[in-house]
């Protein structure tokens, strides 16, 4: 069971206070999009062995959604950041580069 730090309320707590909501940074496609784009949006998800960006909610706490970068194999948490963004923060990416050289090729 993981320990998660909520960037919205500053609480670090065990996973039972939180809920995982799948992959982060999904682009919403809608009216006017092609069938392929819709398929990608609705169904195609990464399943990486390694670095993964995901959505979490502090369900029993402040109720906020946030994003987390995590290694799906070692369960190392690289960091959490607010959900109001379309890409991971640069400093977090740098940290992951340092810890997992070459991870982007697999991503």
């Amino acid at each position: 069971m993981l320990i998660v730090s909520c960037p919205c309320c500053g609480v670090t707590a065990e996973e039972t206070e939180f809920h995982a909501h799948g992959e982060a940074h999904i682009t919403r496609h809608t009216v006017g999009s092609s069938d392929d784009d819709m398929e990608t949006y609705l169904f195609m998800r990464k399943n990486p062995k390694g670095v993964h960006f995901e959505r979490w909610r502090h369900q029993y706490g402040c109720g906020k959604w946030f994003l987390m970068a995590r290694d799906t194999v070692t369960l190392e948490v690289f960091g959490t950041y607010p959900a109001q963004t379309t890409e991971p923060p640069a400093d977090l990416l740098e940290l992951i580069d340092a810890k997992r050289p070459g991870w982007r090729e697999g991503a």
Partner: protein, 1005 residues
């Protein structure tokens, strides 16, 4: 025979004699005994029968690694199967029965299996019972099930209580032997918050038995002093009878505290599960002695050497009068010496090694007059239910008997394996230690935590250190290193205590005794006592191609019993490696999984049982319902009244009465569970237009509108009435089960997609008691209360008003889920009961009576209103339900709009909603499928529809139903076949889903 010695027994309180019963016989023991030591003290060596061959088995060990001594413990609501005699502390009136035998422990019919053992090799069941196939279900499986299984399942509810506790610390030390105590001491001196868990009731581990000095004094002195020091430190929590059961991700550890197992009369919970978050874990879990594999090594009286000395030193119990010691290492000499000191006979030590010179311990043994035979081994053990002697051979040969030695016990030692379980649970890797012939933690491959850094460190014997000074130094170094990583520092001048060092001769790995043992001997050389796996089985598995250790384990069941192979695994995989001509490290180990030792289901459940098994949500009117005949229906975590039964009524009678009363007079419904969500802000209208399929931004303040909500996959997820409160505020009603889910859904879109939209939402579901006042007399009743004008002109259908009604501050919504004249009244929950009472009183002569959820369902079904969860199941879109009118064509976008254009969604063959009316007036089985022409590729009849809701309508006095049917709306009048699970086929005609008041005049009066 085994017996209690006149002296010795450092853990006993001989002033407190206890009596207990085993298989009906009254026996005596002392406070401080385990059930194992007490049984042995009463000469009860035979404690059980093995799983497969029902061989007589005795106690082999003195701790949680014990494979044989499993009993049915206790009676009635305190009955527990598979309790281990070695970890069960004795108490007055303890009641135990041996298990896995019939008719008795002494005489067991199943023991005939041992004569068949040649025919019951590894994989026997797989091979034997596969043919002929039909026999499996009716002949083989019942037989195997009958003969399988260890203890009996409890018949009564568990009479005890359990609990969890969440604990946090910097350093969790698991194991309270000298290594654990030293690690805890050093860690605590840095100021770290330390918790120490010891599985036994006493501290100090093996050291007091194995002897040795610390800082020049007996180890016990140092243990006592260190405990006193730790107990005096604010930052230290000490716990005995608490086992570190499992290590999990990110420093999560489960500790299993047994509070009253040793004293069942105490108040409070029986077990407590510690849910610990530790920044770092030090596992000082010691080591386990390995058995040796020789023929007859399972005969009662053959015991691990260290266990035998535990029984002598800790509990003053001699296992036998004449004990032959067989070993491949120096440690077992301690047993011979301890037995001699206790005045018992040791006719010989059979040492498989050939050494150039005697070690210190060998010299000591010889000085005591013990005959030491180097290079010797046991060819076989004599005896059936008890050892009577051993046949001696040379280890190098094939087992030719050189002499026989009469004895009634055998102490064996195959060397020691560090307890690496907790290190391994969360990914710590092992390496092969050639010198000690064991797997030990690989310091370069530790378990990694949340930050990617090591979070488990081993100390002492768990690291593979077996000399007292190494153990203490390792523990100190572990604590020092760990606390440094936590940013803490030891005060200067703190150092590890000085442990005694004993010169020992190197051990020699012995995986089979004698090394060239014949097939006949190998078939009697047990590896796994509990699951009856022998050396020959593992060899057979290897021969048949099960070369992976994980496969060989499952094929032979080696290590799969309740002891999880604590004694058998290393020996087993060494045999496998031998058979495969591989190195042991190349074969590797099976996976270590938590818990280390079985823990109770009660402890896992904790407080969650009986009234608090799971939360039950109650409305403000709950107690009234309960006192007035409510038959409860769980709706999510809520309890809602299904119907209110009156004297002499069946539940069905009550439902029918409630429907009729509501249609003809006045019904009251507790609608408090319906979700109520406030949505407010400059962008609230735009937001709701995205969330609902229809237009909500154009709703005028004071008006209500029914809306549908889809997810972006296009599927219906909720529905409900939306009321516009003011210019920038809406109140959205959701289904009972939808309140939290839809609130979260709204927050999700606002926080993760449209975070620049100015909208706030708040879930105010529980702020209000909501009461539906329904039926032709509804207006009359409310008018009597006075206050808000509820006339048709002032408060029209699908409007709401705020004001005071009979003195209550309320909001009244004129909405109808029944087709009748209906008002839903929201009042602050703290006044809900009072308003309900007032309504019942004022409507008494108007026929006011409560109705429950089943009547609600029938009322809505008669009107053809859909119900989320009945007509929808997560794969249904509004178009399937004929709800096109609720899909806005003016909006560019809403959640689900684009998805509903996908080819599968637009497929004309999707099943569509229709009404169903049985030909004979009976009620269709809910969920029944309609069958059509032909069969599918699996030979099943083609299905062309299914029933989504079905009721008996008292209004129409016939069965009515809704269902999804292929091309349904185009097939009005057609009769379909619905085979039921009762063997009958029901026939129903496709009709319009609105059965009652098609024009909707009744609700709009």
């Amino acid at each position: 025979m085994s017996t209690r010695l006149a002296t010795g027994g450092r853990l006993l309180n001989k002033s407190n004699a206890l009596s207990f019963r085993f298989n009906g016989t009254e026996m005596r023991g002392y406070e401080g005994d385990t059930l194992a030591s007490a049984l042995l003290a009463n000469d009860q060596m035979l404690v059980g029968r093995s799983f497969k061959y029902h061989r007589p088995r005795g106690v082999v060990a003195a701790g949680p690694e014990e494979p044989n001594g499993l009993v049915n413990l206790g009676r009635g609501d305190r009955f527990e199967p598979n309790a281990r005699v070695t970890t069960t502390e004795l108490f007055e009136d303890l009641y135990a029965e041996s298990q896995n035998h019939w008719p008795s422990l002494e005489f067991d019919v199943g023991a005939i299996n041992k004569y068949l053992s040649r025919f019951l090799p590894a994989g026997f069941y797989y091979k034997m019972f596969i043919h002929p196939r039909p026999l499996w279900k009716h002949v083989y499986e019942p037989f195997i099930r009958h003969s399988a299984g260890l203890g009996k399942a409890p018949k009564e509810r568990d009479g005890d209580t359990y609990e969890h506790v969440h604990a946090f610390c910097d350093v969790l030390v698991i194991g309270g032997g000298v290594a654990g105590l030293e690690a805890a001491r050093a860690a605590a001196l840095t100021g770290a918050r330390v918790i120490v868990m010891e599985q036994y009731a006493h501290w100090g581990g093996r050291t007091p038995v194995d002897r040795g000095e610390i800082d020049g004094a007996p180890a016990q002195d140092w243990i006592d002093a260190t405990l006193t020091e730790l107990a005096g430190m604010e930052n230290v929590t000490l716990r005995t009878r608490t086992m570190g059961a499992g290590v999990y991700d990110h420093g999560y550890v489960l500790g299993y505290e047994r509070l009253t197992d040793h004293a069942p009369d105490l108040d409070g919970p029986r077990h407590r599960l510690w849910r610990v978050r530790a920044r770092h874990i030090i596992t000082a879990t010691g080591a386990l002695e390995r058995p040796l594999s020789f023929a007859g090594n399972d005969i009662p009286g053959v015991m691990l050497a260290a266990a035998m000395r535990d029984y002598v030193v800790n509990w003053g119990v001699s296992v036998g009068d004449r004990t032959v010691v067989v070993t491949n290492n120096d440690d077992a000499y301690l047993t011979a010496i301890a037995l001699k000191h206790a005045g018992l006979d040791v006719p010989a030590i059979l040492d498989a090694r050939v050494l150039p010179q005697d070690s210190e311990l060998m010299a000591q043994a010889k000085a005591l007059g013990i005959r030491v035979l180097m290079g010797h081994a046991i060819s076989s053990v004599k005896g059936v239910k008890r050892v009577t002697g051993v046949a001696v051979c040379s280890q190098a040969g094939a087992g030719a008997v050189l002499e026989e030695i009469a004895c009634d016990a055998v102490a064996m030692s195959g060397g020691w394996s560090p307890v690496v379980h907790l290190w391994s649970h969360c990914g710590g890797k092992l390496r092969w230690d050639t010198g000690n012939a064991c797997f030990s933690p690989h310091p370069d491959h530790p378990p990694l935590g949340a930050d990617g850094a090591q979070f488990v460190t081993t100390a002492g014997a768990a690291s593979g250190m077996f000399q007292l000074d190494d153990v203490l130094n390792d523990a100190f170094a572990a604590a020092d290193g760990v606390t440094r990583t936590l940013g803490l520092k030891l005060p200067r001048a703190v150092a590890a205590p000085k442990g005694e060092r004993r010169e020992e001769a190197p051990m020699a790995p012995v995986w089979l005794m004698p090394q060239g043992a014949s097939v006949k001997l190998r078939e009697k050389a047990w590896l796994d006592y509990q699951n009856d796996v022998k050396v020959s089985d593992v060899r057979l598995a290897a021969q048949e191609g099960f070369v992976s250790v994980e496969h060989a384990k499952r094929y032979t069941t080696l290590g799969m019993a309740t002891d999880q192979g604590k004694l058998s695994n290393i020996n087993g995989l060494a045999v496998l490696a031998g058979a495969l001509n591989e190195d042991i490290p190349a074969v590797g180990t099976t996976t270590f999984r938590p818990p280390y030792h079985p823990i109770s289901m009660g402890a896992i459940a904790g407080e969650a049982r009986d009234a608090v098994f799971q939360p039950v949500r109650r409305t403000p009117l709950h107690d009234w319902h309960d006192a007035n005949g409510a038959q409860w229906e769980p709706v999510g975590q809520w309890r809602r009244p299904y119907a209110y039964k009156r004297e002499g009524e069946s539940t069905r009678d009550a439902v029918m009465r409630e429907v009729t009363n509501t249609r003809q007079k006045l019904g009251l419904l507790d609608a408090s569970t319906l979700g109520k969500i406030i949505v407010k802000g400059p962008d609230a209208g735009k937001f709701l237009d995205m969330l609902y399929t229809n237009m909500m931004s154009t709703l005028k303040p004071g008006k209500c509108r029914y809306g549908l909500m889809c997810n972006d996959n296009g599927f219906l997820i909720d529905d409900g009435v939306v009321a516009r409160i003011d210019d920038d505020t809406w109140l959205c009603h959701t289904t009972t089960g939808g309140a939290e889910r839809i609130h979260a859904h709204m927050e999700e879109w606002l926080q993760t997609e449209w975070w620049d939209w100015q909208v706030y939402v708040a879930n105010v579901t529980e702020q209000y008691a909501q009461i539906a006042v329904v039926g032709p007399n509804a207006r009359k009743a409310l008018e009597r209360l006075g206050g808000v004008d509820v006339s048709k002109e002032a408060l029209g259908f699908m409007e709401w008003a705020e004001g005071t009604l009979g003195g209550y501050a309320v909001r009244i919504y004129r909405i109808s889920f029944s087709g009748e004249l209906s008002y839903e009244i929201a009042v602050d929950a703290s006044h809900g009961q009072a308003l309900w009472d007032t309504l019942l009183a004022v409507g008494a002569d108007l026929g006011a009576a409560p109705y429950g959820t089943e009547a609600l369902h029938i009322l809505r079904a008669e009107k053809g209103f859909i119900m989320i969860g009945d007509e929808t199941d997560g794969t249904v879109i509004p178009q399937d339900l004929g709800l096109h009118w609720a899909l806005s064509k003016k909006k560019d976008d809403y959640l689900g709009k684009r998805a509903q254009e996908r080819s599968h969604m637009a497929d004309p063959d999707r099943w569509k909603l229709v009404g169903l009316e049985t030909v004979d007036g009976s009620t269709l089985p809910d969920g029944a499928y309609a069958v059509g022409e032909g069969k599918n590729e699996n030979g099943q009849r083609n299905m062309i529809g299914r029933v989504t809701s079905s009721y008996h309508s008292p209004t129409l006095d016939k069965g009515i139903a809704m269902g999804l049917v292929l091309h349904g709306p185009d097939r009005m009048g057609e009769v379909l076949d619905f085979p039921g699970t009762d063997g009958k086929t029901y026939q129903a005609k496709i009709v319009d889903p609105v059965f009652y008041d098609k024009e909707g005049t009744k609700q709009d009066v």
